[in-house]
Each structure stands twice: as structure tokens, then as C-alpha cells.
């Protein structure tokens, strides 16, 4: 694999992670709890898109968009049914509850669609190959949607009334409410935005490989690591964390540590030394521990507690 190919793969991975980590972080920012059901919404979205496109025969793009919107509404419904009643509870208690929600959602998907892997019906295509790298048009789409998510979040937070209200509610909910900002309304918007992007992310990941009821669990650790690494509650941190993790996961397997131990010939160490691919899931965790040891609140973490 060429060096440029590893860079391209890292960017694709970072785009996928961003779609999920951005939503996780804004929900945390407003509601002050780590939502362990976040990636399960991505799975529900991916399966809804599968249902619309494969079972009902819709083209994949409208299917993905409709599925994302439907999942967004589902998240609002779950918020109203469960999390709304816990607004004043301790963050750990809501977090544990979200774990219960996650288990219920994951297994509902499994009960409906079965435990086997499913894949979307996509036209076969030859990847665009250059001298330095290969990329499929789907992967270009992943990067475009990931970048679009970043831009949308930036514009939303800084140039819209909703964004200002969101930031105000996050900084001081009581004051925001006193100033006439309807915090509950904002919570609804935040869920919708966060979960539609998560659903798109889940569908895109599913299109690149396949979909499984357990894929939410496979991605929860990297997504949380990206979010926490950047500083949970900070959208720019979530973007940065996703980027760092995307590169770490791909370069971690690409770098020949034997050559590094060689120190440019200073030490005689001629063996090749790679991280075994079976340990790829461990890379995100090790990165997280390293970052937290150096900066306990993440790379862009706020100094004071929210």
C-alpha cells in the first residue's frame, strides 16, 4: 500500500467518524450525558435505508435521506419517552439508561432483520485509480458528506439563531431559559440534527462494507474515543479527534516499527515490526489513554466543568 493510499484511507475513516462524533458531542454539550445509544441510531438508520432501497426498491440516495430523517424523528420520540423524564438526574444515571436503550434498539434490529450481514444493492464500479492511490466514488461521497457535516455544524453554531441558542443553553441552561430561549425546543433540534448525521454515517459505512446489528457496537469505541480525545462537548474537538483517530488507525498498521527502532542505522535492528491487524480496534483505545494522560479534558477540552 502506498503512502498516499494510507492518507486517503485515513481521510475516509475520519469522515465516517466525524459524522458520528459530531452528533455525540452536541448531545453531550446540551444534555450533559454520554449517549451510549448514539451509534445504535446509526444502525437503525442503516437498516431503514436497507429496507427502503432493497426491500422497497427506492434509489439509494433518497432512501438514505428518508431513513436519516425517520431516525431523527425516532430519536426525538425516545427522548420524549425516556430522557426527558431524567433531565435533572445525574449524568451517570442517564448514561446507564442510554445503555439500556442501546441494548433494546440493537436487539430490536436483530429481531426484525436477523443476525446475518446484509448489503445494499449497489452498481459495481471500477475504482478511480491513479499512480498513487485508488478511490471509489462511494468513498468520495463519504469524504464529501463528512466535510459537509463539518461545514453545516460550523455555520449552524455561529451564524444561526438556533446555534446561538444552543451555545447559550449549553453554557448556562437556567440563564438561557430566563432569557426566553425555549431549551426544550432546542433539545429537540439537537437530537434531530445529531441523529440524522449519525444515520447518514451508519448508512455510508454500511454501503462501503455491509450492515450488521452489531455494527453499532463495533464503532462505539472509536466514535467515543474521537469525541473524548478532542474534548467532549466541543464540536471542533470532535472533528479534530476523528481526524487524529482516522490517521492513527491507518498509520498504526502501516508504519514499520522495526525501521523506527533502527534509528536510521544507529541501532542494529533489522526485523520488520508491524502492529498485527487483529489489534486494530485497540489502537483507538491506546490513543485515548495517551491523550487523556497528557490532557485529561481532551485536546481542545474546556478548562472549567460545564
Amino acid at each position: 500500500m502506498t503512502f498516499t493510499q494510507v492518507i486517503i484511507n485515513s481521510i475516509i475513516r475520519a469522515s465516517e467518524l466525524t459524522l458520528l462524533s459530531l452528533g455525540l458531542t452536541i448531545v453531550y454539550d446540551i444534555l450533559k450525558f454520554a449517549n451510549f445509544a448514539h451509534t445504535e441510531f446509526a444502525v437503525v438508520g442503516a437498516y431503514l435505508a436497507f429496507f427502503l432501497s432493497v426491500t422497497l426498491g427506492l434509489p439509494i440516495v433518497p432512501a438514505a435521506v428518508i431513513a436519516a430523517i425517520a431516525t431523527g424523528f425516532l430519536s426525538i420520540a425516545i427522548d420524549k419517552a425516556v430522557f426527558k423524564k431524567m433531565r435533572n438526574s445525574n449524568g451517570i444515571i442517564i448514561m446507564v439508561t442510554s445503555m439500556g436503550v442501546a441494548i433494546a434498539m440493537r436487539n430490536t434490529v436483530r429481531a426484525i432483520w436477523g443476525a446475518d450481514a446484509k448489503s445494499y444493492v449497489l452498481p459495481l464500479e471500477r475504482p478511480i485509480a491513479t499512480q498513487w492511490f485508488r478511490i471509489t466514488s462511494l468513498q468520495i461521497w463519504i469524504i464529501v458528506v463528512g466535510a459537509a457535516a463539518m461545514i453545516v455544524f460550523h455555520l449552524l453554531l455561529h451564524y444561526t439563531r438556533l446555534g446561538k441558542a444552543m451555545r447559550a443553553s449549553s453554557d448556562n441552561p437556567a440563564l438561557a431559559q430566563a432569557s426566553g430561549i425555549a431549551t426544550e425546543k432546542i433539545v429537540t433540534y439537537v437530537w434531530f440534527i445529531a441523529i440524522t448525521f449519525a444515520s447518514l454515517g451508519g448508512t455510508l459505512i454500511g454501503m462501503e462494507t455491509y450492515i450488521l446489528p452489531y455494527m453499532g457496537f463495533a464503532i462505539i469505541i472509536p466514535v467515543f474515543c474521537a469525541t473524548i480525545m478532542g474534548g467532549i462537548g466541543n464540536p471542533y474537538g470532535a472533528m479534530l479527534g476523528a481526524l487524529v483517530l482516522g490517521f492513527a488507525e491507518n498509520f498504526g498498521l502501516y508504519i514499520n516499527f522495526g525501521k523506527i527502532l533502527n534509528l536510521g542505522g544507529l541501532v542494529h535492528f533489522s526485523r520488520d515490526l508491524f502492529i498485527p491487524t487483529g489489534y486494530k480496534p485497540a489502537i483507538s483505545f491506546v490513543m485515548l489513554i495517551i491523550v487523556l494522560l497528557i490532557r485529561p479534558r481532551g485536546i481542545l477540552g474546556k478548562k472549567k466543568e460545564g
Binding site: 453531550y28 450525558f33 454520554a34 451510549f36 425516556v82 423524564k85 431524567m86 445525574n90 449524568g91 451517570i92 444515571i93 448514561m95 446507564v96 439508561t97 445503555m99 439500556g100 436503550v101 442501546a102 441494548i103 433494546a104 434498539m105 440493537r106 436487539n107 430490536t108 436483530r110 429481531a111 436477523g114 443476525a115 446489528p213 457496537f217 462505539i220 469505541i221 467515543f224 474515543c225 473524548i228 467532549i232 498485527p276 487483529g278 489489534y279 480496534p281 485497540a282 483507538s284 483505545f285 485515548l288 489513554i289 487523556l292 494522560l293 485529561p296
Partner: protein
């Protein structure tokens, strides 16, 4: 006889999971540490005793000691870099740590001696059952149940003693979210968190050891994060911060889990769907208890000092 054997099997499972949930309760219920990686202790305990008794052919007692030591050590090590972190960071760090333990045993088959179709994803079989030769096939499960119950009783007595001691009161003050209170009394919060994790790990390892010797076969697939959340359901349903509650919770969840297994004889439903619906019910149960009866079935006795 079949039915009695089934009851003994249930009781053994209840005992093993009760040890796990008492151990998680010490960490979550008393100290407020959201350990989402409880299964790591279970896994380490199971593998440690397998290595000691099978690969090195040592006695069951040495296996127990190795299990408790290794899992306790893991709890200690994992707590050192994380003890200062916020609770929500704890959850993901411990969840990931549990996964790493599983990935380790999935990738490294040499730890259980190696050989074809052994270790890694194949799992390890032929784990010796302690004192097997002294008993007939029918009476052995009763004897094993005895071992499990003695272990549970000791776990309960030790952890109960700890949580009712000044040590336990410091843990509770940490749980109440105010590190300042504990610090004002000259207690190093970080050290207490590390101790709670290490002690929790020791007993989690014991449960893993008992599990491995009971089944005689273990593989990394049995130590997925789902196991952790079943233990969480036990602690939450039974009543957190309460050792009797943790035991009651494991009895209820194991009964529920196993009784629904026979539903397929009465309802036309396939195995996978039934397994999924069972887990949906456990997820919903966690949510309902958290929403409507947060203290669980047995309430923690809160004393005012």
C-alpha cells in the same frame, strides 16, 4: 432427575453471577464508578485459572489465587491512569479495556499452550473440574454448587464488612459526587477509587474462575461486552449500593433469562428472534427501573451520621 439438574445449573449460574454483581456493586453502587468493562475481570479470571490448572497442571486452589490476583492486578492497573477522570470517561475507558482483554485472548493462542484448534477463536476445552474423581457424575453438580455458594458467602461477607467500615463510608462519599468532602477529611480520592477497582477485580476474577471450571470450556466469544450489561441489569434491578440487592438481582435476571428459553416450545418463534427479544426485554427493564424505581427492589439503607 433432569429437572433437578437444571435447578442445580440455575443455582450455580446465579451464584457465579451474584459474585460478579456484588463486585460491580462495590464499584458502581458504592463508589459511583461506571465500570462498563466488568467482563474483563470475568475473562481474566477464567483464562488465568485455565492456564494454571490446564497448561501448568497445578491445583484448583492455585488457579483461584491466580485468577483473583490477575484480575485484581488488572483492576489496579486500569484504574491508575483513569482514577482522576470524569465518570463518563470511565465508562468508555473501562468498556474499551474489556474489549482489549478479549481481543488479546482472541489473537494470542500461545497463552493457553497453543496447538492446532486450540486457543484464540477456537477457545480452550478440557479445563479440569476440581475434585471430580471423588464424586459420581450425578452428585458432582451438587458439590460444585457447594463450592460456588461458599465462594459467594465469603465474597458477600468480605464486601459487606468493607462497605460497612470507614472504608465503605469514604467510597460512598466519593459516589455522592463530592470529592471535596472526602478530601477535606484527608482522604486521597484517587487511591480509594483504585482500591475499589482492584477489590472489585479480585472478586470478578473469582467468578471467572468458577465459570471456567464449571463449563470446562471457554472462548473469547463468551466475554463480549453484553455480559457486562447483564451484570449491570442485575445490580440495577436488585438495588444499587446494596449487597443483598445485587444478589437478588442476579437471581431474578438468571431466572428470567433461562425461563424465556423454553418459550419457543409454546410460541412459534425461531431461536435468534427469541434471543433478540430476550435482550430487548433486558434493555427495556434497565430503562424502566432507572425511570420509575431508581433504587431497585431492595433500597439502600441510608444512614445519617
Amino acid at each position: 432427575m433432569g429437572f433437578i439438574n437444571f435447578l442445580v445449573y440455575l443455582a450455580i449460574m446465579m451464584g457465579i453471577f451474584a459474585i460478579l454483581s456484588v463486585s460491580l456493586n462495590l464499584q458502581y453502587g458504592f463508589t459511583g464508578l461506571a465500570n462498563f468493562g466488568q467482563v474483563a475481570f470475568f475473562c481474566l479470571g477464567a483464562y488465568a485459572t485455565t492456564i494454571v490448572t490446564l497448561t501448568f497442571n497445578q491445583s484448583f486452589f492455585l488457579g483461584i489465587i491466580a485468577s483473583m490476583f490477575l484480575a485484581g492486578l488488572f483492576g489496579y492497573i486500569i484504574a491508575i491512569p483513569t482514577a482522576d477522570l470524569r465518570e463518563d470517561y470511565w465508562a468508555i475507558v473501562t468498556l474499551a479495556a474489556g474489549e482489549i482483554v478479549r481481543i488479546f485472548f482472541l489473537n494470542e493462542d500461545w497463552v493457553v499452550g497453543g496447538g492446532p484448534y486450540r486457543g484464540g477463536a477456537y477457545g480452550v476445552g478440557d479445563i479440569p473440574q476440581p475434585f471430580r474423581s471423588h464424586f459420581a457424575a450425578q452428585t458432582y453438580p451438587f458439590f460444585y454448587l457447594g463450592i460456588v455458594l461458599v465462594c459467594l458467602l465469603l465474597t458477600y461477607l468480605i464486601i459487606n464488612r468493607l462497605t460497612n467500615s470507614p472504608f465503605g463510608r469514604v467510597l460512598k462519599s466519593i459516589r455522592e459526587g463530592d470529592d471535596n468532602l472526602a478530601q477535606a477529611m484527608g482522604k486521597d480520592v484517587k487511591k480509594f477509587r483504585i482500591k475499589a477497582m482492584a477489590i472489585g477485580g479480585i472478586f470478578g476474577g473469582l467468578a471467572g474462575c468458577l465459570y471456567a471450571h464449571y463449563y470446562g470450556f471457554i472462548s473469547p466469544q463468551e466475554f463480549v461486552p453484553l455480559e457486562t450489561f447483564i451484570v449491570w441489569a442485575m445490580v440495577i434491578v436488585g438495588g444499587e449500593g446494596n449487597n443483598k440487592g445485587a444478589i437478588l438481582g442476579s437471581v431474578i435476571i438468571i431466572l428470567f433469562y433461562n425461563s424465556t428459553r423454553y418459550l419457543k416450545d409454546y410460541v412459534p418463534i425461531n431461536e435468534t428472534t427469541l434471543a433478540s427479544l430476550r435482550m430487548v426485554a433486558i434493555g427495556v427493564l434497565i430503562v424502566v427501573v432507572m425511570l420509575f424505581m431508581k433504587e431497585g427492589l431492595i433500597k439502600e439503607k441510608k444512614r445519617i451520621y
